[in-house]
């Protein structure tokens, strides 16, 4: 049973895993430094924040929604968190705790707003979160007066660069988030509803549920993940800034979609999202190591994003082809 499940999982994610493996192989072949422990640590660090955001985004996309505001909300959350943590006269411990809570709360509130407006007025999340993208960015700039906030407590900063046997702490956080997200999607009633609503919202409603609650919750979860990502960001770079996170939404969505989640909802997995985030990270890192120029790198990145998804499709197809004929009992 277990073995079969593992096999299924492998095959399901095989396409995208293959793309990743291929890419990694290529890079380590061309540049021996790629596979060094130090470089792997770098990659782990670099994908952590996108991974956490992408986990939140997965919930929203599984519902057939989208969240364009993650980058701006991240900035707002770091600014609020930064103001709290650098608040004069508060001792370190409480300031850190409050700051973390504040960042997460900001993220959740923004997510809640997104979800609530979408559901209350039945507006597509694209437009609502596009609004939020502007609102949160404006608010972040206003609150911070567009200044970078710094001088965080050393204890806080230390976490961001701490590693265990080459594995950075913030990657451990990201991995935990992925596992938790996976568990929620596969094992809980909430996760079940997310998939079901993404597939056929009307059928869910007529089965006696209120899809709106779950949808608002999904946006809130996404916001909370962004808040957490903001904390990780502050730990990693030791600054808060209202201009961060521009374009993060595209990276997160790319990770989710490369990972095989359907933009129209209902289909997808957290494991896929994680692999998608890895592809994005390895790509960035590898192409740099190859010493490719900025513009060429941009083009190649664009191409590979597409190619990775194509490989995924091919594998999936080939897989089903091999299965079909022998599939009858």
């Amino acid at each position: 049973m277990r073995a079969k499940q593992l096999f299924n999982l492998l095959m399901r994610e095989a396409g995208i895993g293959l793309a990743l493996a291929l890419m990694a192989f290529l890079f380590s072949f061309i540049s021996p430094r790629f596979a060094s422990l130090a470089n792997l640590t770098n990659i782990f660090t670099q994908i952590s924040i996108n991974t956490v955001i992408a986990v939140g985004m997965t919930f929203v996309i599984l519902l057939g929604g989208i969240d364009l505001s993650v980058g701006s909300v991240l900035a707002l959350a770091t600014v609020v968190g930064g103001l709290v943590i650098t608040h004069e006269g508060w001792s370190t411990g409480p300031a850190i705790t409050l700051s973390i809570l504040a960042s997460c709360a900001v993220g959740m509130l923004c997510g809640l707003f997104n979800g609530f407006v979408c559901e209350r007025w039945k507006i597509h999340s694209f437009i609502v979160t596009l609004g939020m993208l502007n609102i949160a960015r404006g608010a972040a700039l206003e609150i911070s007066n567009s200044r970078t906030i710094f001088s965080f407590p050393d204890a806080f900063n230390a976490v961001g660069s701490m590693t265990f046997a080459g594995v950075p702490v913030i990657f451990v956080i990201a991995a935990a988030v992925v596992l938790a997200g996976r568990f929620i999607l596969n094992r809980t009633v909430f996760g079940r509803m997310i998939y079901a609503i993404g597939n056929n919202e009307e059928a869910v409603r007529l089965s006696g549920h209120d899809p709106r609650l779950y949808k608002v919750a999904a946006f809130t979860v996404c916001g909370a993940m962004v808040g957490l990502a903001a904390v990780m960001y502050m730990m990693r770079l030791n600054i808060s800034s209202p201009i961060l996170g521009v374009g993060f939404e595209l990276n997160a969505i790319a990770a989710v979609v490369i990972g095989g989640t359907s933009m129209s909802g209902g289909k997808g997995s957290m494991t896929g999202t994680f692999l998608g985030a890895c592809i994005m990270g390895v790509l960035n890192n590898g192409l740099l190591l190859l010493g490719m120029g900025d513009f060429a790198r941009m083009m190649v990145t664009g191409l590979i994003i597409v190619v990775a998804v194509v490989i995924d499709k091919y594998r999936a197809k080939a897989f089903f082809r091999t299965l079909e004929p022998g599939g009858s009992p």
Binding site: V189, N199, N200, V204, R205, L206, L323
Partner: protein
């Protein structure tokens, strides 16, 4: 293949050794079949016997794994629906394939819109559409958006689509599942006219009586194999049922006069749907089966949806077990012990891309979870129990709902509501697309539920079915309840005249007012 053995020249379509497999299922198993030029050839068989699969092979949706097809004596292997249409094969599919936001006229002629230099000739489009609509008796404006139509109207529209082009072969996969006698009559006229024009017709239905009304020959499929082809004139219903099921089936309605209904479980007072002109009042008692009859579009579905909170209602009181309850959403309805099996299984009944198990337990996840955590094992076993109980044909409860045959999907919707175990059950067209054998099993099941004290409302366009199993029948006509007939007074004529009442009156009034009579019916 006794009756099927004829001279090769007379056969328009010839299938030999056709096999089609899906993961875990052999849908068609070395099927041989010959369809003569200009005949109405009926395919019957239990749910999941392979009828729709056969249709999809003929129209280029699937390609066979083995075997070959001859059309007009030449090898026929359409690679796409376009190829099939070019070869003269058209289909009315079991499931709708409409464009909800486009107009009725555009839907009818979508295959080839009348045009000049790539610009649509709307004047001609609407004119032609009026003709076709009149032919099938669908009283809607050709400009109306399809999303505003009811299920039965959509079914008629599907038929109208098939009439928009001339074809050699017309395949109708369960066209009458939601139609009432009036529309069925009109459909048969159309079929007869087409046949007279030399069109070959393949006709699939679970309503065996009509098979004899229009069929020339009947082929019975069982478990993906052709059992026998017989001439309609020589066949009898019991004979066919036996061939379909493989054994004798008791064709007895389970009605028991000795089971008396108990206390009132549901009372509806002055229910008015949004846009509805009439206030509706009715009641159902525990252990009672109440039928809801009416013509297409008479407002039955609208009333049930409003009652269940699926649509907003304009006004009305609902009493459950004597206490007034507020029902503003399906969620509240379910909380107050009600369930509604919707008439459109694909759009409203099932989560098609999820497993059977997920669909079954969707109505009551609390029963298969603890503190928000799913108990996957409990879920599977609950689903397996219901799949077995309803004899749903599927390799496992992990199969996606999408991959079930139409009738088995319908059973799955029933299963999901049985899982909820509500006190008041509203079924809108519950036997739509369900084969005879299973039909009687479901009647038995409904009776068992009644015996347990459930209050049951059944909306159905199949009058004999309602008369067979109900205590009472409410008749809808033009959005109002025109009568309530107790079992003792059941009779086709009585009920039909109530069902026509409003339309006849409308016409009379229209005539006296001197305006052009436009009303339906």
């Amino acid at each position: 293949m006794d009756a099927g053995a004829t001279a090769g020249g007379a056969d328009l379509i010839e299938l030999s050794g056709i096999t089609k497999r899906f993961p875990g299922v052999v849908a068609l198993d070395r099927v041989d079949l010959a369809i003569r030029r200009g005949e109405v050839h009926v395919l019957v068989g239990q749910n999941g016997a392979g009828k729709s699969t056969l249709v999809k092979l003929l129209c280029g949706v699937y390609t066979p794994d083995e075997g070959r097809i001859l059309l007009d004596g030449a090898p026929y292997a359409p690679r796409s629906t376009l190829a099939a249409i070019r070869a003269g094969v058209r289909v009315v599919y079991q499931e709708f394939n409409l464009l909800p936001y486009l107009s009725v006229a555009e839907n009818i002629f979508f295959q080839r819109l009348p045009r000049r230099l790539g610009i649509v000739d709307f004047a001609r489009l609407y004119r032609d559409a009026e003709t076709v609509l009149a032919e099938v008796g669908l009283a809607v404006s050709p400009r109306a958006r399809v999303e505003t139509l009811g299920v039965a109207q959509m079914q008629l529209l599907e038929i109208a689509k098939a009439l928009s082009t001339r074809s050699k072969v017309l395949i109708l996969d369960e066209p009458t599942a939601t139609l009432t006698p009036r529309e069925i009559g009109r459909l048969f006229e159309i079929v007869a006219r087409l046949k007279a024009r030399g069109v070959t017709i393949v006709y699939i239905s679970h309503r065996l009586q009509e098979v004899f009304d229009i069929g020339d020959r009947i082929t019975v499929l069982r478990n993906g194999r052709t059992v026998q082809t017989l001439a309609a004139r020589e066949a009898t219903i019991p004979q066919i049922v036996k061939l379909m099921v493989g054994k004798e089936v008791s064709e007895e309605y389970p009605f028991r006069a000795d089971v008396a209904p108990g206390a009132e479980a549901l009372r509806v007072e002055d229910l008015r749907t949004v846009g509805g002109r009439h206030a509706l009042s009715f009641a159902v008692r525990r252990g009672e089966l109440v039928g809801v009859a009416g013509l297409v579009g008479s407002g039955r579905t609208e009333a049930m949806r409003a009652l269940f909170g699926a649509d907003r209602k304009a006004s009305g009181r609902v009493l459950r077990d004597g206490r007034e309850v507020a029902i503003r959403s399906p969620r509240e309805a379910v909380r107050h012990g009600m369930s509604l099996l919707t008439e459109d299984r694909k759009a409203h009944g099932l989560v098609l891309d999820m497993s059977c198990a997920v669909n079954v337990t969707l109505t009551d996840l609390a029963r298969v979870s603890h503190a928000g955590l799913l108990d996957v094992r409990a879920e599977r076993s609950a689903a397996e129990r219901l799949v077995a109980e309803l004899a749903i044909k599927t390799p496992s409860v992990d199969q996606l709902a999408r991959n079930l045959s139409g009738g088995n999907q319908q059973k799955l919707v029933i299963a999901k509501w049985l899982f909820r175990d509500a006190a008041v059950l509203v079924f809108d067209e519950p036997t739509r697309g369900i084969d005879v054998g299973a039909r009687y099993e479901i009647y038995g099941l409904l009776w068992r539920l009644a015996a347990e004290g459930k209050a049951i409302l059944i909306v159905s366009s199949d009058l004999p079915e309602l008369m067979g199993i109900c205590h009472r029948i409410l008749v809808f006509s033009g959005g109002r309840i025109t009568g309530e007939v107790p079992r003792a007074e059941f009779g086709q004529e009585r009920i039909l005249s109530l069902a026509y009442q409003e339309y006849v009156r409308d016409r009379r009034e229209a005539a006296t007012a001197g305006t052009a009579a436009a009303g339906a019916g």
